[in-house]
Amino acid sequence: MADTVAGLPVQHAEKSFYQQSTNKYSGILSWLLTTDHKRIGIMYLAAIGFFFFVGAVIGLLMRLELIAPGRQIMDAQTYNSFFTLHGVIMIFLFIIPGLPAIFGNFFLPIQIGARDVAFPRLNLLSWYIYMIGAALVLVSLFLPGGPIDTGWTFYIPYSVRSTTNVSMAIFAAFVLGFSSILTGINFVTTTHRLRAPGMSFFKMPLFVWATYATAWIQIIATPVIGITILLVIIERLFGVGIFDPALGGDPILFQHMFWIYSHPAVYIMILPAMGVVSEIIPTFARRTIFGYKAIAMSSLAIAFVGYLVWAHHMFTSGMSDTARWIFSLLTFIVALPSGVKIFNWVATMYKGSIDPQPPFLWVMNFIFLFSIGGLTGLVLGSLATNIHLHDTYFVVAHFHYVMFGGTGTIFFAAMHYWFPKMFGKMYNIKLARIAVLLFFVGFNLLYFPKFIMGYMGMPRRYYDYLPQFEALQEISTVGSWIVVGTLFFILGYLIHALLKGKKATSNPWGGVTLEWHIASPPSMENFAEIPTVTREPYDFSQLKEMKNE
């Protein structure tokens, strides 16, 4: 079953990257000092996966507290810390680095036919910086003063006044941002410099396009949160007055600077996910992607327009009416490129030969949940409805549909799509299909009632609530049990597959991008010879010859 890469036979006797390291060490050091982008990707997977479960369990405990009015399992201050930590962990430790750092690291070089990223040592450094940031978050929990309680948005003036360990926790966000910037620089340079011969920009797989656009946002937006966080820390330490209203500072300026990063960050989270969708749909519909250039360009359009909509988080903060309607208009415009993608994906499936394997089912899940999340985003982007819904559960439901239902779902899709390639093992397809269904049910039970509660006026971040919300809160809590249960279920069968699973073939799904031309798991150098690319990225006519050889 020898594959070919552009006519050159691949040695299947070659050792996989698990068996061959880039340094002279063996065992754990061969991992901790590796410069292999695949090993670094796996190391990110371990770390990010761990924090995802930590964040999920915190969310579970919060839902448990909210199962009935009044105190259940924790006091109000603990609850404040919990919703802050849930946000900080899920956003800075899971969803921002998630797809680019794990799957981008692993597959971006392979998909453009490279042996590694442009700066392999910098890549390892990014991982260490990520781990330092994560350690700082954890340490800040146990120092005197107690865990941060400001909410993940760190709004001034409370973040200056709070006596909890705000400085250390937000310094962790600064450090994590640095890791994000270095990864972004690495990916942009890799995409420009290391494409295989024949791999022109418009022959790149769409996951590469999406990761490339994401890397640009990481470079452009992250420094702004960096300086904002530094200013808050300086404000807390020295009281310079830049954000302190008592000394002439302007808290709304803080909000602007915070969202100048944190809105584009939303697209750092979602763009790579959209790239994964553009990979999975053609593979399982056995059709070339519809509107390749439109999808590629819409990624760049999202990256660009997404930079100009930040103030829609601040419609009730006190801005001029002119500023508000301009930002509202821009918010509607940024929905267009997302729409372009959705329509192109659906058009790709039309008359395709659809094979509903688990990754594809996750993508269907995504399209449904993300559409709800996206459309309710328009409700929030309109000025009049925003005034009513601002800071309610409606917002919470909206961004969980977009982030968890969108990026989170695609995280699982990517996991199921590339698991055989990354680990060389196949998981139980039947269990994986059940997991998608369970997740879908649990997710909607968990978050849909929040739309209704938000519409009824339930404010976000409240520890207690009025009796009329009790039924909906209960449904939501039950949903959280199903979702977290499903997460552990997925973890269980993936670990089982890792230990006892069947060996995966090099191309279990019938994909045609470059990673499916090489062994599962790949060799340390990815390609024995750098391939020469002659075909379009989703040209399925080559599938037959790939199988025959």
């Binding site: 050792k15 698990y18 068996q19 061959q20 390291s21 880039t22 340094n23 002279k24 060490y25 063996s26 065992g27 061969s30 042996r115 590694d116 442009a118 700066f119 392999p120 910098l122 910037i181 972004g184 620089i185 690495n186 942009v188 340079t189 420009h192 410099r193 290391l194 470079i219 452009i220 992250t222 420094p223 702004v224 960096g226 300086i227 904002t228 530094l230 200013l231 300086i234 020295f238 009281g239 310079v240 007055g241 830049i242 000394l247 002439g248 500072g249 302007d250 300026l253 600077m257 100048i260 340390m524 150098e525």
Partner: protein, 207 residues
């Protein structure tokens, strides 16, 4: 896992153009980092134009001008260091690098005297003297300390990098054939200079 070693198989990859591209991207993030501060400065200057002018009169334009000249000259010596190495003159390159470091040190010493003079006048964040001043002046000095402080931090980091380069040239790790590290350090040094070029008029000259 039976990891096994074969470093020889791994191709040594060298891409100078790629390395420079990465450096430019990094400098871009630095510009944006300071850009955030310039934005804050612009907003507050717009809100308190008179108090900003008043506060700026307290800064020593002479010492600021001196530091500008020092930093600009150090950029020249940095460029000369790179050019000498490209032409194969290691000794001149190292000399020029040392002169650059010397200029950087002079800049920091001036900065030290400038700041301590301010401190002795009771002008520092949170000081009773400053807190009693109008908001615009508090903000001006807050920004002055934060922006020039962050810039000084960059000068310090630059000095560390240049010291490393000196050692690299000495040990023939950076040579006339392979000088992209020195080139990139030069880019960084010019950026430090460039940011000062903007800080100088904003704080010292607009009075």
């Amino acid at each position: 896992m039976n990891s096994y070693t074969d470093a020889a198989v791994h191709h040594v990859h060298r891409d100078d153009a790629g390395a420079k591209m990465g450096m430019w991207l990094f400098l871009f993030t630095e510009v944006l980092l300071f850009g955030g501060m310039f934005l804050v400065y612009a907003v507050y200057r717009y809100q308190h134009p008179d108090q900003f002018r008043l506060a700026a009169m307290e800064l020593n334009t002479g010492i600021g001008t001196l530091n500008t000249i020092i930093l600009l000259t150090s950029s020249l010596t940095m460029a000369l260091s790179i050019a000498s190495l490209q032409k194969g003159n290691r000794f001149l390159s190292m000399t020029m690098l040392s002169v650059t470091l010397l200029f950087a040190l002079m800049f920091m010493v001036n900065k030290y005297f400038e700041w301590s003079a301010k401190f002795s006048h009771g002008i520092y964040p949170g000081s009773p003297e400053l807190v009693n001043k109008p908001n615009g002046e508090i903000l001006f000095f807050g920004l002055y300390y934060v922006m020039t402080g962050l810039h000084a931090l960059h000068v310090l980091v630059g000095m560390i990098i240049l010291t490393f380069m000196f050692v690299f040239i000495k040990r023939n790790k950076v040579t006339s054939e392979n000088y992209v590290k020195l080139d990139n350090s030069g880019l960084y040094w010019h950026l430090v200079d460039l940011i000062w070029i903007f800080l100088f008029p904003l704080f010292y000259l607009i009075q």
